[in-house]
Symmetry: C2
Subunit: 220 residues, 2 copies
DNA sequence: TAAAATTTTTAGACAAGTCTAAAAATATTT
DNA sequence: AAATATTTTTAGACTTGTCTAAAAATTTTA
């Protein structure tokens, strides 16, 4: 399929797609505006444009959802973004908190074969440095099961498999707490008052706020 | 130095810089329009804008030249472009005729350290796949001596060190004629009528037009 | 050097994407 | 269900980079 979309259009599609995946429902104008750091009126304009191009389904005052065409654009942009993140961390040795903004630019490079060659060079990785799954060439993507550390019971152990927030400040906090993908965490205690958690990580005990624990994907 | 330039501004600076290097004189509006594939009126607008920002020197009706600020932008864009070309050919195994348009996009990625890390990963190459010199981190660049195959005398031999034209059609022609960087060429004969040349390449004899021979940089 | 040709600039328009301010629709509260 | 609050859309404006058509300046030609 050959759309010819601007970076702005691709970014809106990514936003609408990912909010849609998270919530499962039609995506509100204000939600999109929040994610895109823009104004609701700008969102209305863009959604109308994407709707005219058959990339989103939109009913006035009722929010939007990507069509299958729109989804395929969004997924291929995600694929590009995540492969570039792998390249930046694995090949160029950036830290995982430095790559988001650069990948945000690289994902929009137009080329028939660039992303596939990159995929091959990186040896077809399944996850990016933040644990997000990388769609394959056909757009097939295995989503996280969305189990957050915050929902793990006291006494149970789990393994960190991803971060929901890729902001530099969050990732730097994790670096300091020596939390990275693959780390085993045991939940020692959950504070009733603010849901802060006491954790055991490699025989050290630390306390993290709810804000932290609800942004860490875990398994088991 | 921290300018914050659009891709269009960077492209105009590159064009004005490179025409200026080639000709040594002030660069005409029409020359820029030709190189940028746009209209003279658009060039006038952009040159005015770059002049307001102190990136080019412009006198009405008299053409433009980059200032030292403008030159440093142009050179760092060239550096980025050429390093990305190396990456595409050496790392991702693109053919040299496939990389120009992709590098044209990649050169505009904004990042403080991306290009330097790429340079390191590629082991600080001196030349890109078309033989163009790569400016170092400080913008120092060793220009070609501009000796073209067309100026080599009958009976003399030389080595191909670069191509002036990076178009896919020219590069494909060279591939077919098994002319690549480093190849030794002996000039057997120059036709008076059209300056076409008879060449010996690896004991095979071929004839090339003036159009070809004046687009090949050679040494010795 | 005056006329003709060319080059460059100006003037006004357009598309993309954004914004503010106000109007319209929907949702919530009482 | 009416009043109030919130969300969404519309209307009009601005910026960037482009264009066409026409005017102005420069260069070439005769």
């Amino acid at each position: 399929m050959k759309f010819n979309l601007s970076q702005a259009e691709e970014n809106y599609l990514k936003a609408i797609y990912s909010i849609g995946i998270d919530t499962g429902k039609s995506v509100n104008t204000n939600q999109i505006a929040l994610k895109m750091k823009t104004k609701a009126s700008s969102v209305t304009d863009m959604v109308k444009k994407l709707s005219d191009k058959g990339l989103v389904e939109h009913k006035k005052y009722k929010g939007a959802l990507v069509t299958s065409k729109g989804e395929s654009v969004a997924v291929s942009t995600l694929r590009s973004h995540r492969l570039w993140e792998c390249f930046l961390v694995d090949t160029l040795e950036f830290n995982w908190d430095e790559v988001h903004d650069i990948a945000e630019q690289l994902e929009h490079i137009k080329s028939d074969s660039l992303v596939d060659r990159l995929d091959q060079f990186l040896n077809f990785p399944s996850y990016d440095p933040h644990g997000d799954p990388i769609p394959d060439k056909n757009g097939v993507i295995k989503h996280h099961k969305n189990v957050m550390l915050s929902s793990v019971e006291v006494g149970a152990s789990c393994i960190v498999i991803g971060v929901k927030d890729s902001s530099s400040s969050f990732l730097k906090f994790l670096d300091n707490a020596s939390i990275c993908l693959g780390k085993k965490i045991k939940v020692l205690k959950v504070e009733d008052f603010d849901q802060s958690m006491q954790l055991e990580i490699e025989s050290k005990v630390i306390t993290v706020s709810h804000q932290i624990s609800k942004n860490l994907y875990v398994k088991k």
